[in-house]
């Protein structure tokens, strides 16, 4: 791939002066690809974690225990009403700083690296939104449906996992999709704790090569492509899983 595009971009650089160094210099190409890979990885893990938190939190909010519901409510409000960037800084520097370290042969490394803290912090942030989204989905499931399931002899967990959740998931899917897309964009904040994802890598590259406009354009193009692909995928999924008569 690199061998095919390299001469073309070198030619562009020579004739027009547009310095897309990431596409003709093998070292910078490697940096860009590793950053892009890290970003995609970060998005995948973050989205998965936020979905798990969303489902668990929404189920916890249906429980009878007032403590549990209050705890989830505090979590949701605390994460929704504070800046995600400071949350990242707080997790990585304040909590990670006093956390355990491991001996990495001569120097000490924190047990959870920056990437791990980024997944945790952004996942918790997105999860707080997902809890609310799933809860409204669960509320939309008619009581008669769950009563019917109970009368068929299902226990509480079976009712939740087989009846409530599949229906709630479909009802809340449109707003869930919007949140997942905005969460994928939020992963660029991992830049502030020096996770080597695409924003950080391209920042390094434009600092080394003094080609800010080209690299910012590339950064924009990367996110635009990923976000567009994600929204197309989510729209496709939405059209696949809709049950006629449920939701709309």
């Amino acid at each position: 791939m690199f061998d095919i595009i390299a001469p073309l971009f070198l030619e562009i650089h020579k004739t027009t002066g547009l310095n897309f160094v990431t596409f003709y210099d093998p070292y910078e190409y490697g940096r860009f690809i590793s950053g892009a890979g890290k970003s995609l990885q970060l998005m995948l893990y973050t989205l998965c974690l936020s979905l798990i938190i969303g489902v668990l939190g929404a189920q916890a909010q249906t429980s009878k225990s007032k403590m549990l519901r209050g705890g989830v409510e505090i979590y949701v409000q605390a994460f929704r009403n504070t800046p995600v960037m400071i949350q990242l800084l707080f997790f990585y520097f304040a909590i990670g700083g006093i956390g355990p370290v491991i001996d990495a042969g001569g120097y000490y490394e924190p047990l959870i690296p920056a990437f791990g803290w980024a997944v945790i912090a952004i996942g918790l942030f997105g999860g707080a939104y997902n809890v609310e989204i799933f809860r409204s989905g669960i509320e939309a499931v008619p009581a008669s449906t769950t009563q019917a399931a109970k009368s068929l002899g299902m226990n509480k967990w079976q009712v939740f996992s087989r009846i409530t959740l599949p229906l709630a998931f479909r009802v809340s899917f449109p707003s869930l999709g919007t949140n997942l897309i905005s969460l994928a964009k939020t992963t660029s904040f991992a830049y502030v704790i020096a996770v080597p994802e695409v924003t950080y890598m391209l920042n390094q590259i434009w600092a080394d090569n003094v080609n800010v406009p080209e690299m910012i354009f590339l950064l924009f193009l990367f996110y635009f492509t990923v976000i567009t692909a994600l929204s197309i995928f989510l729209n496709w999924l939405e059209s696949r899983i809709t049950i006629p008569g449920v939701g709309k």
Binding site: Q77, T82, P83, G97, F189, L219, F224
Partner: protein, 275 residues
């Protein structure tokens, strides 16, 4: 033009304030929880002097926080004006206007805030020449413009949706009552749109305010930069970072949470009236 949000007595602002006091228990719980965590950390490190350091530097951090707030105000004003124009362009009947405005909307809605911030910070001029005079543009002004762009795109979409959500029959009845286009807009459509778009507008204001700490990445002296400077001059250490960042989170929470509650109250007020 006055828009009444709270028509009947049950939904008056006073009731809302009362409701906040009732719902304030979460806020109180959060503050208590923060204080307990503070205390635990101080006990772990046996460093009560951290609290003294925080109190000594709190005004400096708060000064930075005021810059965050002013950035959010100015940015919201710019975003609202541009968003209204974009919304009008989006509902225009001329394709030559709709297509480019839709492109602008999609570009700014689909790129992360950080990318927009980089674009404005690096690619906008750092000074302007007007009549031979040089005026430097301060970083926080550029950041303000950067924050207003994604919000503009989203508000444009919201305004478009609000205008389109008004039933066609309203236009027709206004027409039959002898209103011209401008009068219909002014007396019938816009008052209803304001009510419909207000919760989303407030929600976007909250999101915008929560995005302003990003300006610290590019050296604007706001709350996060000031916190870092304070921590460093007080002898950096994770035991200091913990209370400082928690203080910063609490500052934003205390400002944003009431806005979120008010947004929800207005939303509910509106949805009840429509049933």
């Amino acid at each position: 033009m006055s828009v009444t949000l709270f028509k009947n007595k049950e939904n008056s602002p006073l009731t809302f304030v009362k409701a906040i006091f009732e719902r304030k228990k979460w806020l109180l719980l959060f503050i208590v929880a923060s204080l307990v965590t503070f205390y635990a950390v101080f006990m772990i490190y046996g460093l009560n002097k951290n609290l003294e350091v925080l109190i000594a530097w709190a005004p400096f951090v708060f000064k930075g926080f005021l810059l965050n707030l002013s950035m959010s105000f100015f940015s919201m004003i710019i975003a609202t004006i541009l968003g209204l124009l974009l919304g009008l362009a989006l509902i225009s009947k001329t394709r030559a206007i709709t297509l480019p405005s839709r492109a602008v909307m999609n570009i700014f809605r689909n790129s992360p805030w950080l990318v927009v911030l980089f674009i404005t910070m690096y690619l906008f001029p750092f000074e302007v020449h007007i009549f031979g005079e040089r005026y430097a543009i301060p970083g926080w002004w550029k950041a303000t413009i950067a924050f207003s762009l994604p919000v503009m795109a989203n508000l444009g979409e919201i305004f478009r949706g609000a205008v389109l959500s008004i039933p066609k029959s309203q236009w027709e009845s206004a027409d039959s009552l002898g209103f011209n286009h401008l009068q219909t807009m002014r007396y019938i459509i816009i008052p209803q749109c304001v009510k419909r778009a207000l919760p989303s507008w407030m929600n976007w204001y909250a999101l915008l305010t929560l995005a302003t700490p990003m300006a610290s990445i590019l050296g604007v002296q706001e709350s996060v930069s000031n916190t870092r400077a304070a921590v460093e001059s007080a002898g950096a250490g994770p035991d200091l970072l913990f209370p400082f960042y928690l203080f910063l989170l609490a500052l934003f929470f205390i400002y944003i949470y009431p806005i979120a509650l008010l947004t929800r109250a207005i939303e509910r007020n509106y949805s009840f009236k429509n049933q």
